[in-house]
Point group: C2
């Protein structure tokens, strides 16, 4: 039975589901930062997924990455599985910009999160829904 | 024509080739840290690879990750494409240990690299060759 790690639950907003992964928005207004969590219980490493699920994870990741990069005109996309703190397998997709608060370093552990205001969150969801449409086969099945 | 970015050339030791990627060892004795570089010119983002090459990248990554994790009894594997500093598309695979110099944070930008001594490098290559054998279809074609 799949459930989100309490830390991911607390730090993110659920956007919806891909065929393999739940898609989350990190509640940190400093960076456009999405997280994919394969809906399997108790995996920690990407290499523990089946080869088919690994390919699907990257398909979903690249679908998000390509569209976010274009929509936001990002300088660089960062994609990663770290999981040193939260063990549940989760995959970061972060749009980075020259001059963002952590640039050019990684975002993790750099600065405390700055939660979205209600207004910022509504605007961000609006932008994300334009960038990541529900388009059937690959698209995100939005929950919000 | 594929060539390594000068910064990657300076900071790493070439281990060999997979079908898609050149496999490098970061010259930093603080972490077992490998880098895969798809042998394509001028790509920056994972999502710019063809879908087949994306799947192959993850196949090679997970082959390395699974074997390094088991051989070294790592606490966690970190896999990532950042590329904020070096634009050439490259993929990090790092074996992390509770108590390593950057734990539990990310390794990038944390501490200056500590180059291997000749003796440490020989020992590390010996361990890596045991963990990552040339085994035909998927294995690493060693150059050193």
């Amino acid at each position: 039975m799949f459930s989100l790690h309490p830390r991911l639950e607390a730090d993110t907003i659920v956007l919806g589901d891909f065929p393999l992964c739940r898609c989350l928005l990190m509640n940190d207004a400093q960076y456009p930062w999405l997280i994919l969590v394969p809906r399997h219980a108790d995996l920690r490493e990407v290499h523990e997924l089946t080869e088919a699920d690994q390919a699907q994870l990257l398909r979903e990741s690249s679908w998000v990455s390509k569209r976010l990069c274009a929509q936001l005109d990002a300088t660089k996309m960062n994609v990663a599985n770290l999981g040193n703190v939260v063990a549940q397998l989760h995959w970061h997709i972060i749009a980075r910009f020259e001059g963002d608060p952590a640039w050019p370093g990684p975002v993790w552990g750099k600065l405390p999160a700055v939660p979205y205001t209600d207004e910022e969150l509504m605007e961000t969801l609006h932008i994300l829904k334009a960038a990541l449409p529900s388009d059937g086969a690959v698209g995100l099945n939005w929950a919000v």
